[in-house]
């Protein structure tokens, strides 16, 4: 199996008056594990269904392996889709499920069942061929769905939140499993999810989507450390968000007049002197005690133990700042009055815009 690249060329999708996907350009490399991350209703599933051929784009072109897919149905594209609810055929055995795509291609029974057994081995389900999907556990059904999709030797595998129905432990296990399978078969995976943990853990690159628009396409580290928009900054990971007025602006640095005082940070978007802007600091980038350029006096309001780390909720000038520190003996005996500080690099300044949570 060889992966193919997927390109969206000014693709937009409208249903009647409502626009599901704004004009979008996207290049997904061959053999890449690519995730599209976004809240429900952001258009990510629509985008996936467009790539798989269930929806024709209103405008623009979908190219897979350089070939224009216009007018090609889902059965004519080199893609296979794994549905959110898996959509296994409940009345067929596991082996028949896996072999269904081969059956549709007219492969002889003995041959296709042999192939199905090989694929079940690939997903560590050898010997389960005679069972019905209903007899399997959630994780096993998941793997059957993967084997069934891989049977047709797709160049691109599309996954529509397939892990969302599983419990937490199994979900975490299936993440690494999926990643391993992708490495083994080497084809392009396009993975849709609203769970940032899944997207960040598995993907080579992630696209964050909101309201039918791609906000940022980057690898997981970049996405977390250098979010391009306020939405990405607040959707991926935690943020302390402050509003302030820009008081000085030089190169990529700006100073903001915020309720907690003058804060310096790096500029991440077009802002102007004297206008309002958003300041974001990750909870784990704030340290206790002085040290950074930005120093804030705060009062400890609450402490939430998360296990390896502790969230400290601090009040400063009517604002709440969350600070995440590693758990340890020192955290248990914190004074009520704290000095918080963070560096210029840790504070990001964005123009006003939509946030992920209100």
């Amino acid at each position: 199996m060889r992966g193919k690249d997927v390109r969206l060329d000014q693709v937009s999708i409208r249903f009647g008056d409502s626009t599901a996907v704004q004009p979008t350009d996207l290049a997904i490399h061959a053999g890449e594990f690519f995730s599209i991350l976004g809240p429900s209703g952001c258009g990510k599933t629509t985008l996936l269904r467009t790539i798989s051929g269930f929806i024709e784009p209103t405008e623009g072109r979908v190219l897979i392996g350089g070939e224009d897919m216009a007018g090609k149905g889902p059965n004519e594209r080199p893609t296979a889709l794994i549905f959110q609810n898996l959509a296994l055929f409940p009345l067929m055995s596991v082996a028949e499920n896996v072999a269904f795509g081969l059956e549709a291609r007219g492969m002889r029974k003995a041959e296709r069942l042999k192939r199905a057994e090989e694929l079940l081995e690939l997903v560590a389900l050898n010997g389960y061929g005679d069972k019905r999907p209903a007899d399997l556990s959630g994780g096993q059904r998941q793997r059957v769905a993967i084997a069934r999709a891989l049977a047709v030797e797709p160049a691109v595998l599309l996954l529509d939140e397939p892990l969302s129905a599983l419990d937490l432990k199994l979900r975490q296990h299936m993440r690494s499993e999926l990643r391993a399978i992708q490495k083994r078969v080497g084809i392009t995976f396009i993975y849709i999810t609203h769970d940032q943990g899944e997207a960040l853990a598995m993907s080579d690159r992630v696209a964050v989507m909101s309201r039918g628009r791609l906000e940022q396409v980057a690898d997981a580290d970049t996405l977390y450390a250098e979010p391009a928009t306020p939405f990405v900054a607040t959707f991926v990971g935690e943020q302390n968000v402050l509003r302030g007025t820009v008081t000085s602006l030089a190169d990529s640095l700006a100073a903001l007049d915020t309720p907690i005082g003058r804060i310096e940070g790096r500029v991440k978007g077009p802002i102007r002197l004297g206008e309002e802007a958003l300041l974001m600091v990750r909870p784990e980038r704030i340290v206790l005690g002085p040290g950074g350029v930005n120093t804030v006096a705060a009062r400890l309001a609450a402490r939430n133990l998360e296990g390896p780390s502790v969230h400290l909720h601090c009040a400063a000038a009517g604002q709440t700042l969350t600070v995440t520190v590693p758990n340890g003996p020192a955290v248990r005996e914190l004074p009520e009055e704290l000095t918080l500080s963070f560096g210029v690099d840790d504070a990001l300044v964005y123009p006003m815009g939509a946030l992920a949570h209100g």
């Binding site: 889709l81 549905f83 959509a87 055929f89 009345l91 059956e103 549709a104 047709v152």
Partner: protein
């Protein structure tokens, strides 16, 4: 019963149990039992019994005449004795004539004439044919209704299906009669187009053909086929259809491998209902054939009851039909691999 009374208390539990028993009794056991019992006996109505009685009365008159001219007391006594014997014989025979004795046995079933048996077999065959045709006609309809996108479209389709059923069945059958009659709508249109001349009796005799009955029957029973299928098809996860298409299956294969297996219980129920209704339908063949297209078995049952006045024979005919229909249900269930549980759903 124990768990019932725990859940609802003793009075309510006995009420529920009582209603269940009454239901089974009134709706199933009593009518069915009466029919089966009726079919298992007959009265030996010997035609010569009245003749024998008449002859005995003649004999008595003769003996009385002889006795009145006889003077020997010994011979008179002999005449008297034979008179009382004859009168006793008349009394028993007359009692038999009035209320012939019941004989139990299977004769009502075995006595069916060859012609009636042929009609019986043909009716079953026709009913099967109607069922098969209705299935072919209704499957696409049910599919479209069940998978219609949008609730509004589904409602419109459903109403369009139900509206004809607001009209009395007899009216609908007569409507088809008007359409297919010698001087009916179709022949009228053909005449207007110049293909035939009705005054020269050049009409196409649709009604002399059993297919006229098929047509009216399918029209009459369509809903009983469509509804169960719609019910099961509606529960089909559409993702399965999309998954099958995504895996490269043709439309035909998707139906054969995914949709029809899922709809099986609905198809079985639809077939059972349509078969039972058409095998037992009286009005449709009676109206549509007008005696020209051959009788259906249900008409024979009717005649046994109301024209031959032989309720025992009529019951036997009805029970035979019931047995075959039950066998059909069991066969369908076996064939489609569905249990009572699936059908109840």
């Amino acid at each position: 019963m124990g768990s019932l009374s725990r859940a609802y208390g003793r009075p309510l539990a006995s009420l529920i149990a009582g209603i269940a028993v009454a239901w089974i009794l009134v709706l199933i056991l009593v009518p069915l039992g009466a029919m089966v019992e009726q079919s298992l006996w007959w009265r030996e109505a010997k035609g010569d019994i009245s003749l024998t009685i008449d002859r005995l009365y003649n004999d008595i008159s003769l003996i009385e005449l002889d006795r009145s001219s006889e003077t020997d007391p010994a011979k008179q006594a002999a005449f008297d004795q034979s008179l009382t014997e004859k009168q006793a014989e008349i009394a028993t025979l007359e009692a038999q004539e009035k209320d012939p004795p019941k004989t139990y046995g299977l004769a009502n079933f075995t006595r069916m004439s060859g012609l009636h048996f042929y009609i019986f077999v043909r009716t079953i065959f026709y009913a099967l044919l109607v069922t098969a045709l209705a299935l072919v006609v209704c499957y696409p309809v049910a599919y479209v209704v069940a998978l219609a996108s949008g609730p509004r479209k589904a409602i419109i389709l459903m109403v369009a299906l139900i509206v004809p059923y607001a009209i009395n069945e007899l009216l609908r059958v007569y409507a088809w009669l008007m359409i297919l009659d010698y001087r009916g709508v179709i022949n009228g249109v053909l005449q207007w187009m110049g293909f035939i001349n009705l005054d020269a009796r050049e009409w196409i005799p649709f009604l002399e053909n059993p297919s006229a009955v098929f047509l009216a029957m399918i029209y009459t029973y369509v809903l009983f086929m469509v509804f169960p299928m719609v019910n099961t098809l509606e529960t089909l996860d559409r993702n399965q259809i999309e998954a099958a298409r995504d895996l490269g299956a043709s439309t035909f294969r998707i139906h054969r491998r995914v949709i029809i297996p899922h709809a099986k219980p609905g198809i079985a129920v639809g077939c059972i209902m349509t078969f039972m209704l058409s095998a037992g339908s009286y009005s449709v063949p009676a109206i549509m054939t007008r005696g020209q297209g051959g009788d259906w078995f249900s008409q024979l049952v009717y005649r046994q009851f109301y024209e031959s006045n032989n309720w025992n024979m009529g019951s036997a005919y009805a029970v035979s039909l019931l047995v075959v229909c039950t066998a059909f249900i069991l066969l369908m269930m076996r064939l489609f691999g569905v249990g009572l549980r699936d059908i109840a759903k």
